[in-house]
Amino acid sequence: MKRVKDFIYKDILSVNENSDLRRVIITMKRHRVCAIPVVNQLGEYIGCISEQDILNASVPQYMKSMYNTSFMADLDHIIGHLHDILDKKAFEFTDSSYPTVTPNDSMSYAADLLFRSKKTALPVLEGKMLIGLITRIEILTVSLNGNKLS
């Protein structure tokens, strides 16, 4: 059986829960990732922030109440609101229920989790420590070497 530990993308860059949102966005842009793990002061994993999480937080509350109508979000309002929250801490935007896997999980399980959750990458945790990621491309490239997942 193919295990997660043999396919880990061994990058552990993360942001601190007390980093501000500005730093989170800068880091995602420079690092070319759509989601980034968030850790506490001890380096323990507490969740992830995705681009979608930030976008969701950028839409002002009054706009959300109008979602069900034919209302279209005004970019100026979203950018203006995003600008106002750039100094807020990362933990306020962290998705602590973001799915994760462990090194001993099967790649089939990881693939299923990625597929169902529609995420781009899954953090790989050993205890509370982040040791890398499983990304969609890791799953897709398993088959290139003549392998099957399970």
């Binding site: 990058d11 552990i12 860059l13 601190n16 980093s19 730093r23 880091t27 002061q41 001890l42 040791i131």
Partner: protein, 315 residues
């Protein structure tokens, strides 16, 4: 787990050719070679440690396409990456090794300037990483914009976690750091023969300098001078050692000290007697310079080279 810190890493562009001349167009033929590989002292040490089977995390600053190339190559070699990406790009260092004339021409770029907020972010990340490693390697030059005191801060933070620090950089950076008591000091004196504020060369001078440091710094256990490869001098608290390799056949000196230190760390972590650790380190350095590549690929050769290292103990 070992953490290597490379604040000013590079992409190494290595050209290996015959008959290098200025004012001439060179087209590489099949006997020549061009390599584009991750570089910088700490990065080289991480690559060597990974080849030796030691779990290693590499951190530092990276940026741009070259930064992604650097991290991708490190991961392909089994190193875990945790680089802080900056707005500017990682530099490219060019080396031209001329096999026919036996010359090495090097052009090192100065690298990107680091803004203060990126340095703060790196130090936060470094402090967290200290919770999961048992040895830290600080190696190489400092990029523009980074205060000279950063290595001192990093040494003190590591010592606060009870972690040994290996320091390998130019004398101008090491001199003001000696009193912070790093576990191992290895000055890079290839192109600069001053250390501790004075001209320094020759076995006796190295022994004297090493003993001075060890006698004042209770945390420093090793002072090693590797740049005179025919007489590597290591000073420890109990005694000193001179390592001499036999029948040297130098092919490529690039990355010698990095391979030496990786060998040292690998052997030290196996709790070998000091003389054996130093012998292994020298054998690793020797293995590295007798092939074209700047990092060790054939680790079995280190074992075979152990017997070619004469170790003299000096009281």
């Amino acid at each position: 787990m070992i953490l290597t810190v490379t604040l000013n890493p590079a992409i190494d562009k290595i050209l290996i050719l015959n008959g290098f001349e200025i004012h001439k167009l060179h087209r590489l033929d099949s006997r020549e070679m061009s390599m584009t590989v991750p570089g910088g002292k700490g990065v080289n040490i991480a690559l060597n440690l990974s080849a030796l089977g030691d779990e290693t995390i590499a951190t530092g600053f990276a940026g741009g396409h070259e930064g992604h190339l650097l991290c991708d190559s490190l991961r392909q070699s089994g190193v875990t990456t945790s680089f802080i990406f900056t707005e500017g790009s990682t530099r490219t260092n060019t080396s031209i090794l001329d096999l026919q004339h036996e010359t090495l021409t090097e052009i090192n770029d100065f690298g990107q300037e680091i803004p203060e907020d990126d340095l703060v972010f790196l130090l936060e990340s470094y402090e967290r990483l200290l919770n999961r490693v048992d040895m830290v390697v600080l190696a190489g030059s400092l990029p523009k914009g980074v205060i000279e005191d950063v290595y001192r801060q990093m040494i003190i933070m590591a010592q606060g976690h009870g972690i040994n620090v290996v320091l390998h950089t130019a004398p101008k950076y090491i001199d003001p750091l000696i009193d912070s008591g790093p576990f191992l000091i290895n000055p890079d004196m290839r192109s600069y023969h001053r250390f501790m504020g004075r001209p320094l060369d020759g076995i006796d001078a190295f022994l004297q300098a090493g003993r001075e440091i060890i006698s004042y710094q209770k945390n420093t256990e090793f002072v090693i001078f590797t740049h005179r490869i025919e007489n590597v001098v290591a000073v420890t608290r109990k005694q000193s050692y001179i390592m001499r390799p036999r029948d040297l056949k130098i092919v490529n000196m690039l990355g010698y000290a990095d391979a030496y230190l990786a060998g040292f760390i690998h052997a030290y972590r196996q709790n070998l007697p000091t003389a054996d650790v130093l012998r292994y380190a020298s054998a690793a350095g020797l293995t590295n310079i007798e092939v074209l590549y700047k990092e060790i690929r054939d680790t079995d050769q280190i074992e075979a080279n152990l017997q070619r290292i004469d170790v003299e103990e000096v009281s």
